[in-house]
Subunit: 480 residues, 2 copies
């Protein structure tokens, strides 16, 4: 077995790992980056980019169907599934190519291939070929889709998101298990592209929403165009030829059996921390097996090991993986002089239509025990001027504010152009603006941002009313 | 002749006038609002709203044509001009209806109908029926389209934007005179809806752009889908049956004659201040005949007369008319205790596709004599990730920053989702953020806002380089 001595060992060459490697190198340290799978990030290969490509095609198909509302009539529309998937794959390959160029630019001696596992707090074994002794390490091993045990070992037509982007044509039918961000994005896109889609949700969750009022609106709005069945759990599945016979059980105990060409598991992702030999590191682990870490520094306890990206399950989205990686790599390079890095206002977006967006502090977090009461303002997009002009007048935005200071605290929404409104509001949150200061900002006309203004005016009016006499319980909607 | 004594006389019942009337009334003053034309604002009747309705139909038509790029084929598309215009008019009527409800809510004794002209600094004559003596007045008379003298008295098929929204079907062909915001919005929309459109520009201006680099990109991008002829002046026009024979002369002296069903004059708007008897007020006038006023208070000189909205030609767009009106009415009501009102960061948007947007301080303003040099950063949207995913990868954003302070100064762009990026940047400008602070804000992935980040990084790099050795002249692009 080869032996190697390095300053910094980075495990995983995804977004977080590449960022960590580069940041560690700026300190002039000898660093290696270890990858067991194909190069190319989750984002570029099977995540953000290919899903957005599929969604762009789906939005075009959707517009064809709905243009008649403007007096513009598509003829006999035809969705060329092979062409749709060819564009998705070729543009995906282009994005992956940029990542690979970055990997190519890393000196060969800094790249190790194979599965890494800790054999002591300062050693990693790579497959059976190399032992790496390190001063500091960054765990950036990413995540993988969770597949419910009932769907294990059924056959090739039980799939995960990764498989979708290898299709060379669109399938006839898909059951999507899970209504998180990935399930909803893919389910709606496939449905708009003419695939028969059934979405199954264990409970009543909708993407990342925690505000029950927004969630209820989202359930209704998304159900208007899609077959979504809440309170359904997978019971069993069998492969029959090129189909899956899927039996779901409702929480009421009823069983439903249907056949689909594919069953797509999108019921969450698991951080890849279970095959790392973490027991040899002495790190304290969470009940999920993830090392406890400081989100300002990415440091695991007071140790010389850092954890970044999906692997730490803090906010498993690309921009955070990128920030995590930079902070972890910087601290691994400067250890023991560990410093807090830049963390930004939380912002998550599901690119469904309308977009599902949460930013700042969530409704659930604000409603938690021991927290002060907060005021809420809201706007429905049903009669919002510009949204109606564009025939995109579906959705609801709820904004949160602090009674005492008048500060803007956060928002959750399902809204047209929600991705853009989300940036506007997340920046305002990071600037620590008050709701009054936000109302003093420019709002053009006619724009969807005017809907934000309506919600903020409502919020300010509720802030001005002051804390309601009884503090709101978890089942009450405070402030409105 | 009837005589009336009031505290505040508001001339004009558009956006600015209605706002001024309401603001004056909050001081408990007796106010009247005088209108000579039909009720309903420029915005709702012939401006923002109906143009955006036409544009929404045009974007649907455009998507049908371009969906094939995603593998989605529209078949033989049919644009039902009557249906397009029916939706534009009926939704327009709905928006006008909201304005009329507001007018109806004003007590009858506060509303005067007829043309108002000053007969002294404290009297207005309304047609020949009423003399109004007032303590203070607000001029909120709006603006009207400018029609070049060569196109006067030609016939019914020389039209202005107001006429477009009375159409019951789409015409076969239109010559648009002018490439300002209105000309470009209507010209592109009609062109996308299958109307043969030629756009003629006197010089090389594109909407509100002052940055020569952005303007050049805009000329190229918009010309890719439209027949735009710069450096053309109207020479003469003749009505032949239901067509206009239009002769234009190039600045090189060549003459071009073509026939169109309509010639649409969109070469600017004139403030309605020329028939007001301003000579009887003693107010000092600008060379254009507009009373000199303070943009913080809307007060004309040190007088008891205020001017708001398009009439003062400061920023003739709806959100400003609304702010102007509120400030002017408030000060008319509290006179002589005149106070500065809330002015927001400048933001103007042309809802072409891509959007043309300017915000903060313009390139022209920053390049003016005696101003310090400024740094520029830019991004092309040609290879911007998400823009390309959506096949909307056309355009350019240029951002400006101050060398000494690192503060963000403004931006001009032709960009996908420019209306949304414009709000984000205008808010940042109003918050007086530095470019570094903006780069610390959240940017999700993959979003068009990441293009903004690229431009800001470029700007920060140029700020860090410091002022170039020779101060940039008007024909040099500083900082890049």
């Amino acid at each position: 077995m080869q032996e190697l001595e390095v300053d910094v060992a980075v495990i995983g060459a995804g977004t977080a790992g590449l960022g960590a490697y580069r940041a560690a190198r700026t300190h002039g340290k000898r660093a290696v980056i270890i990858e067991s799978g194909p190069y190319g990030t989750t984002c570029a290969r099977v995540g953000c980019m290919p899903s957005k490509l599929l969604i762009a095609a789906a939005e075009a198909a959707h517009m064809l169907e709905h243009a008649a509302g403007f007096g513009v009539h598509a003829g006999a529309t035809r969705i060329d599934g092979a062409a749709v998937m060819a564009r998705v794959r070729s543009e995906r390959d282009r994005f992956v190519g940029f990542v690979l160029e970055g990997v190519d630019a890393i000196p060969a001696e800094d790249k190790l291939r194979g599965h890494a596992r800790f054999t002591s707090p300062h050693t990693l074994q790579i497959d059976e070929h190399t032992l790496v002794r390190f001063q500091t390490a960054v765990i950036a091993t990413g995540s993988r889709p969770f597949v419910p045990t009932e769907l294990h070992n059924v056959g090739p037509n039980v799939i995960v998101n990764d498989d979708v982007f290898e299709w060379t044509d669109l399938p006839k039918s898909v059951a999507v298990i899970g209504t998180g961000v990935i399930g909803l994005e893919l389910g709606q896109a496939l449905s708009r592209l003419g695939v028969r889609v059934t979405m199954y949700a264990r409970g009543g969750s909708v993407a990342q929403l925690t505000d029950p009022v927004v969630r209820e609106t989202a359930m209704r709005v998304l159900s208007e165009e899609m077959d979504i069945r809440f309170q359904h759990l997978p019971l069993r599945a069998t492969q029959h030829g090129d189909e899956i016979e899927l039996t779901m059980r409702t929480t009421a105990g009823d069983e439903v059996t249907e056949r689909y060409q594919y069953v797509l598991c999108a019921s969450g992702r698991l951080p890849n921390v279970d095959m790392l030999g973490l027991e040899c590191t002495g790190l304290e682990l969470s009940p999920r097996g993830i090392p406890l870490f400081d989100p300002r520094t990415m440091q695991c306890g007071a140790s010389h090991i850092f954890i970044a990206g999906d692997a730490n399950a803090e906010r498993p989205v690309l921009p955070e993986a990128s920030d995590h990686g930079r902070i972890a790599g910087d601290n691994a390079g400067r250890y023991p002089d560990v410093r807090p890095g830049l963390r930004r206002a939380p912002l998550t977006i599901a690119f469904t239509e309308p977009n599902v967006v949460a930013l700042g502090r969530s409704y659930r977090e604000l409603s938690g025990e021991g927290k002060p009461a907060f005021a809420v303002g809201q706007v429905s997009f049903h009669n919002q001027g510009r949204s109606r002009v564009m025939l995109q007048n579906r959705g609801l935005l709820r904004v949160y504010g602090e009674y005492r200071t008048g500060k803007f605290l956060g928002a959750e929404m399902i809204a047209p152009r929600g991705e853009n409104l989300g940036h506007l509001l997340a920046w305002a949150y990071q600037c620590r603006l008050t709701v009054k200061e936000m109302l003093d900002m420019p709002f053009y006309h006619p724009v969807i941002e005017e809907g934000v203004r309506t919600a903020l005016r409502d919020l300010q009016a509720n802030i001005d009313k002051g804390v309601p006499p009884e503090p709101p319980g978890p089942d009450r909607t405070p402030g409105i």
